[in-house]
């Protein structure tokens, strides 16, 4: 190693030397031992560094410092815990409120049937049959997964049978027309397997309003509710024609 290189590397020759590898360190130290210029310079540098370094590190650390530090850190830890506990309670309350809100909305939307009669008519998927009797309607509905769903109505007035979308669920919708009397009725068939029938409003007319000049009645049967929107005074014309006693034999 020459003097120029040795002077460049001299700065790296420190007590905790981690920047020169073993070979470089050995070569430098060999040069410093042998060189009459670099050797004394290096020793002088080291002595100066030792003197200043010793003074630099000569700082009295207060006796109680460790205890004060740990006490303060414990105090801060307590503050931290209290803050997180407070935030935790608030976050939990907010999450619970949000969950209740979501569950409430879900329940309201999922369970409570709405009555958008005209809208559903336009959305309905026509699987049409006409003009059937109760057995045929029952069979058709059974084919769609609705067991014993056809009520004993007067199907002579049935114009169409749809599958309509009610709150995201496919459910039967029947359109009855009494052309002679210019009356019409829409009957939604709501099974209790898909809808909470207890949630149906007790007074459906109050909810339905008269935007479409329909009145509403709810006909509850086993496992089904039939929500009937009708024009005219009442929906009695949907009921099957009862043969009067004595008329069956043609009298």
């Amino acid at each position: 190693m020459d003097c120029k290189t040795a002077r460049l590397l001299l700065d790296y020759l420190r007590p905790n030397n981690r920047e020169l590898d073993a070979a470089e360190t050995r070569a430098l130290e060999d040069h410093l031992t042998a060189c009459d210029d670099c050797g004394p310079l290096s020793r002088g540098e080291r002595r100066a560094d030792e003197i200043i370094g010793r003074a630099m590190r000569q700082v009295d650390v207060p006796d109680q410092l460790r205890g004060r530090l740990l006490a303060r850190l414990e105090e801060r830890r307590g503050d931290h815990r209290r803050v997180w506990r407070r935030y935790g309670v608030r976050a939990f309350a907010a999450a619970a409120a949000l969950l209740l809100l979501v569950l409430g909305l879900w329940h309201w939307y999922a369970v409570r049937p709405a009555f958008p009669a005209v809208q559903l008519l336009t959305d309905a998927n026509n699987i049409g049959i006409s003009p059937p009797d109760q057995k045929q309607v029952d069979a058709t509905l059974k084919g769609q997964g609705f067991e014993n769903a056809a009520p004993d109505y007067n199907y002579n007035h049935l114009s169409w049978l749809f599958l309509a979308n009610v709150e995201g669920r496919q459910t039967p919708l029947m359109l009855f027309n009494d052309r002679g009397a210019r009356r019409q009725a829409l009957v939604y068939v709501l099974p209790d397997t898909q809808f909470d029938l207890n949630a149906l409003p007790p007074n459906p007319n109050a909810q339905a309003g008269n935007e479409y000049e329909y009145k509403c009645a709810i006909d509850r049967r086993d496992h089904y509710a039939y929500v009937v929107y009708y024009t005219g005074d009442d929906p009695d014309w949907l009921q099957p024609v009862r043969q009067q006693p004595g008329t069956a034999n043609g009298n």
């Binding site: 007590p15 981690r18 003074a55 700082v59 650390v61 207060p62 850190l73 830890r77």
Partner: protein
């Protein structure tokens, strides 16, 4: 915000480092009260953000770095403090007198107080012997060459100031009232 350290972890951090950290803080600030405050602040931040320490073996540089940032934050409003300029100070070592005089700790502190932080910090870290040039460069977020250049000038000035008092009195280090090193 990082993950807080456990009580045992933080206690160990304190036991292993509080002396060195306090000495560093004292040399940076020149005041025992400020040194204790800075040490306290550094450990509090370390406790709160312990999750940011990726390598536990690098806890000391991490703590020193936190402390330096805390110090810089405090002195930011005090940048008009009188400091010496090292513009005229060379990097090559001047010949030293024989025998070398002893250096008093307070005398050293007075000299350090005259230096701006950009020279004082590498000087302190260098003489603490715990840090390589690379460590110092990382602490100060500077290229290693810049750190070595500043160190050479600061060492040269400090030696002149402490080991050759007569030379320092007449030397190239002129006092000025800004931090513009």
């Amino acid at each position: 915000m990082g993950t807080p350290g456990s009580q045992r972890t933080v206690q160990r951090l304190v036991d292993d480092n509080y002396g060195a950290l306090y000495r560093y803080a004292y040399r940076l600030s020149g005041s025992s009260a400020d040194a204790e405050d800075l040490t306290q602040e550094a450990f509090c931040k370390a406790q709160s953000n312990y999750g940011q320490l990726r390598d536990p073996n690098r806890a000391r540089p991490w703590l020193f770095s936190i402390l330096r940032n805390a110090y810089l934050h405090r002195v930011r409003a005090d940048r008009q403090a009188a400091c010496v300029s090292l513009d005229g100070v060379g990097e090559l070592p001047e010949p030293l007198p024989e025998p070398l005089p002893d250096v008093d700790s307070e005398q050293l502190q007075q000299a350090l107080n005259e230096l701006t932080e950009v020279y004082r910090t590498p000087l302190i870290l260098y003489y603490f012997d715990d840090f390589s040039y690379r460590d110092i460069a990382e602490q100060m977020d500077l290229p290693m060459g810049t750190v070595m250049s500043r160190l050479a000038r600061a060492k040269s000035w400090l030696r002149g100031r402490l080991l050759q008092p007569a030379a320092a009195a007449n030397g190239g280090a002129e006092r000025r009232a800004t931090d513009g090193l």
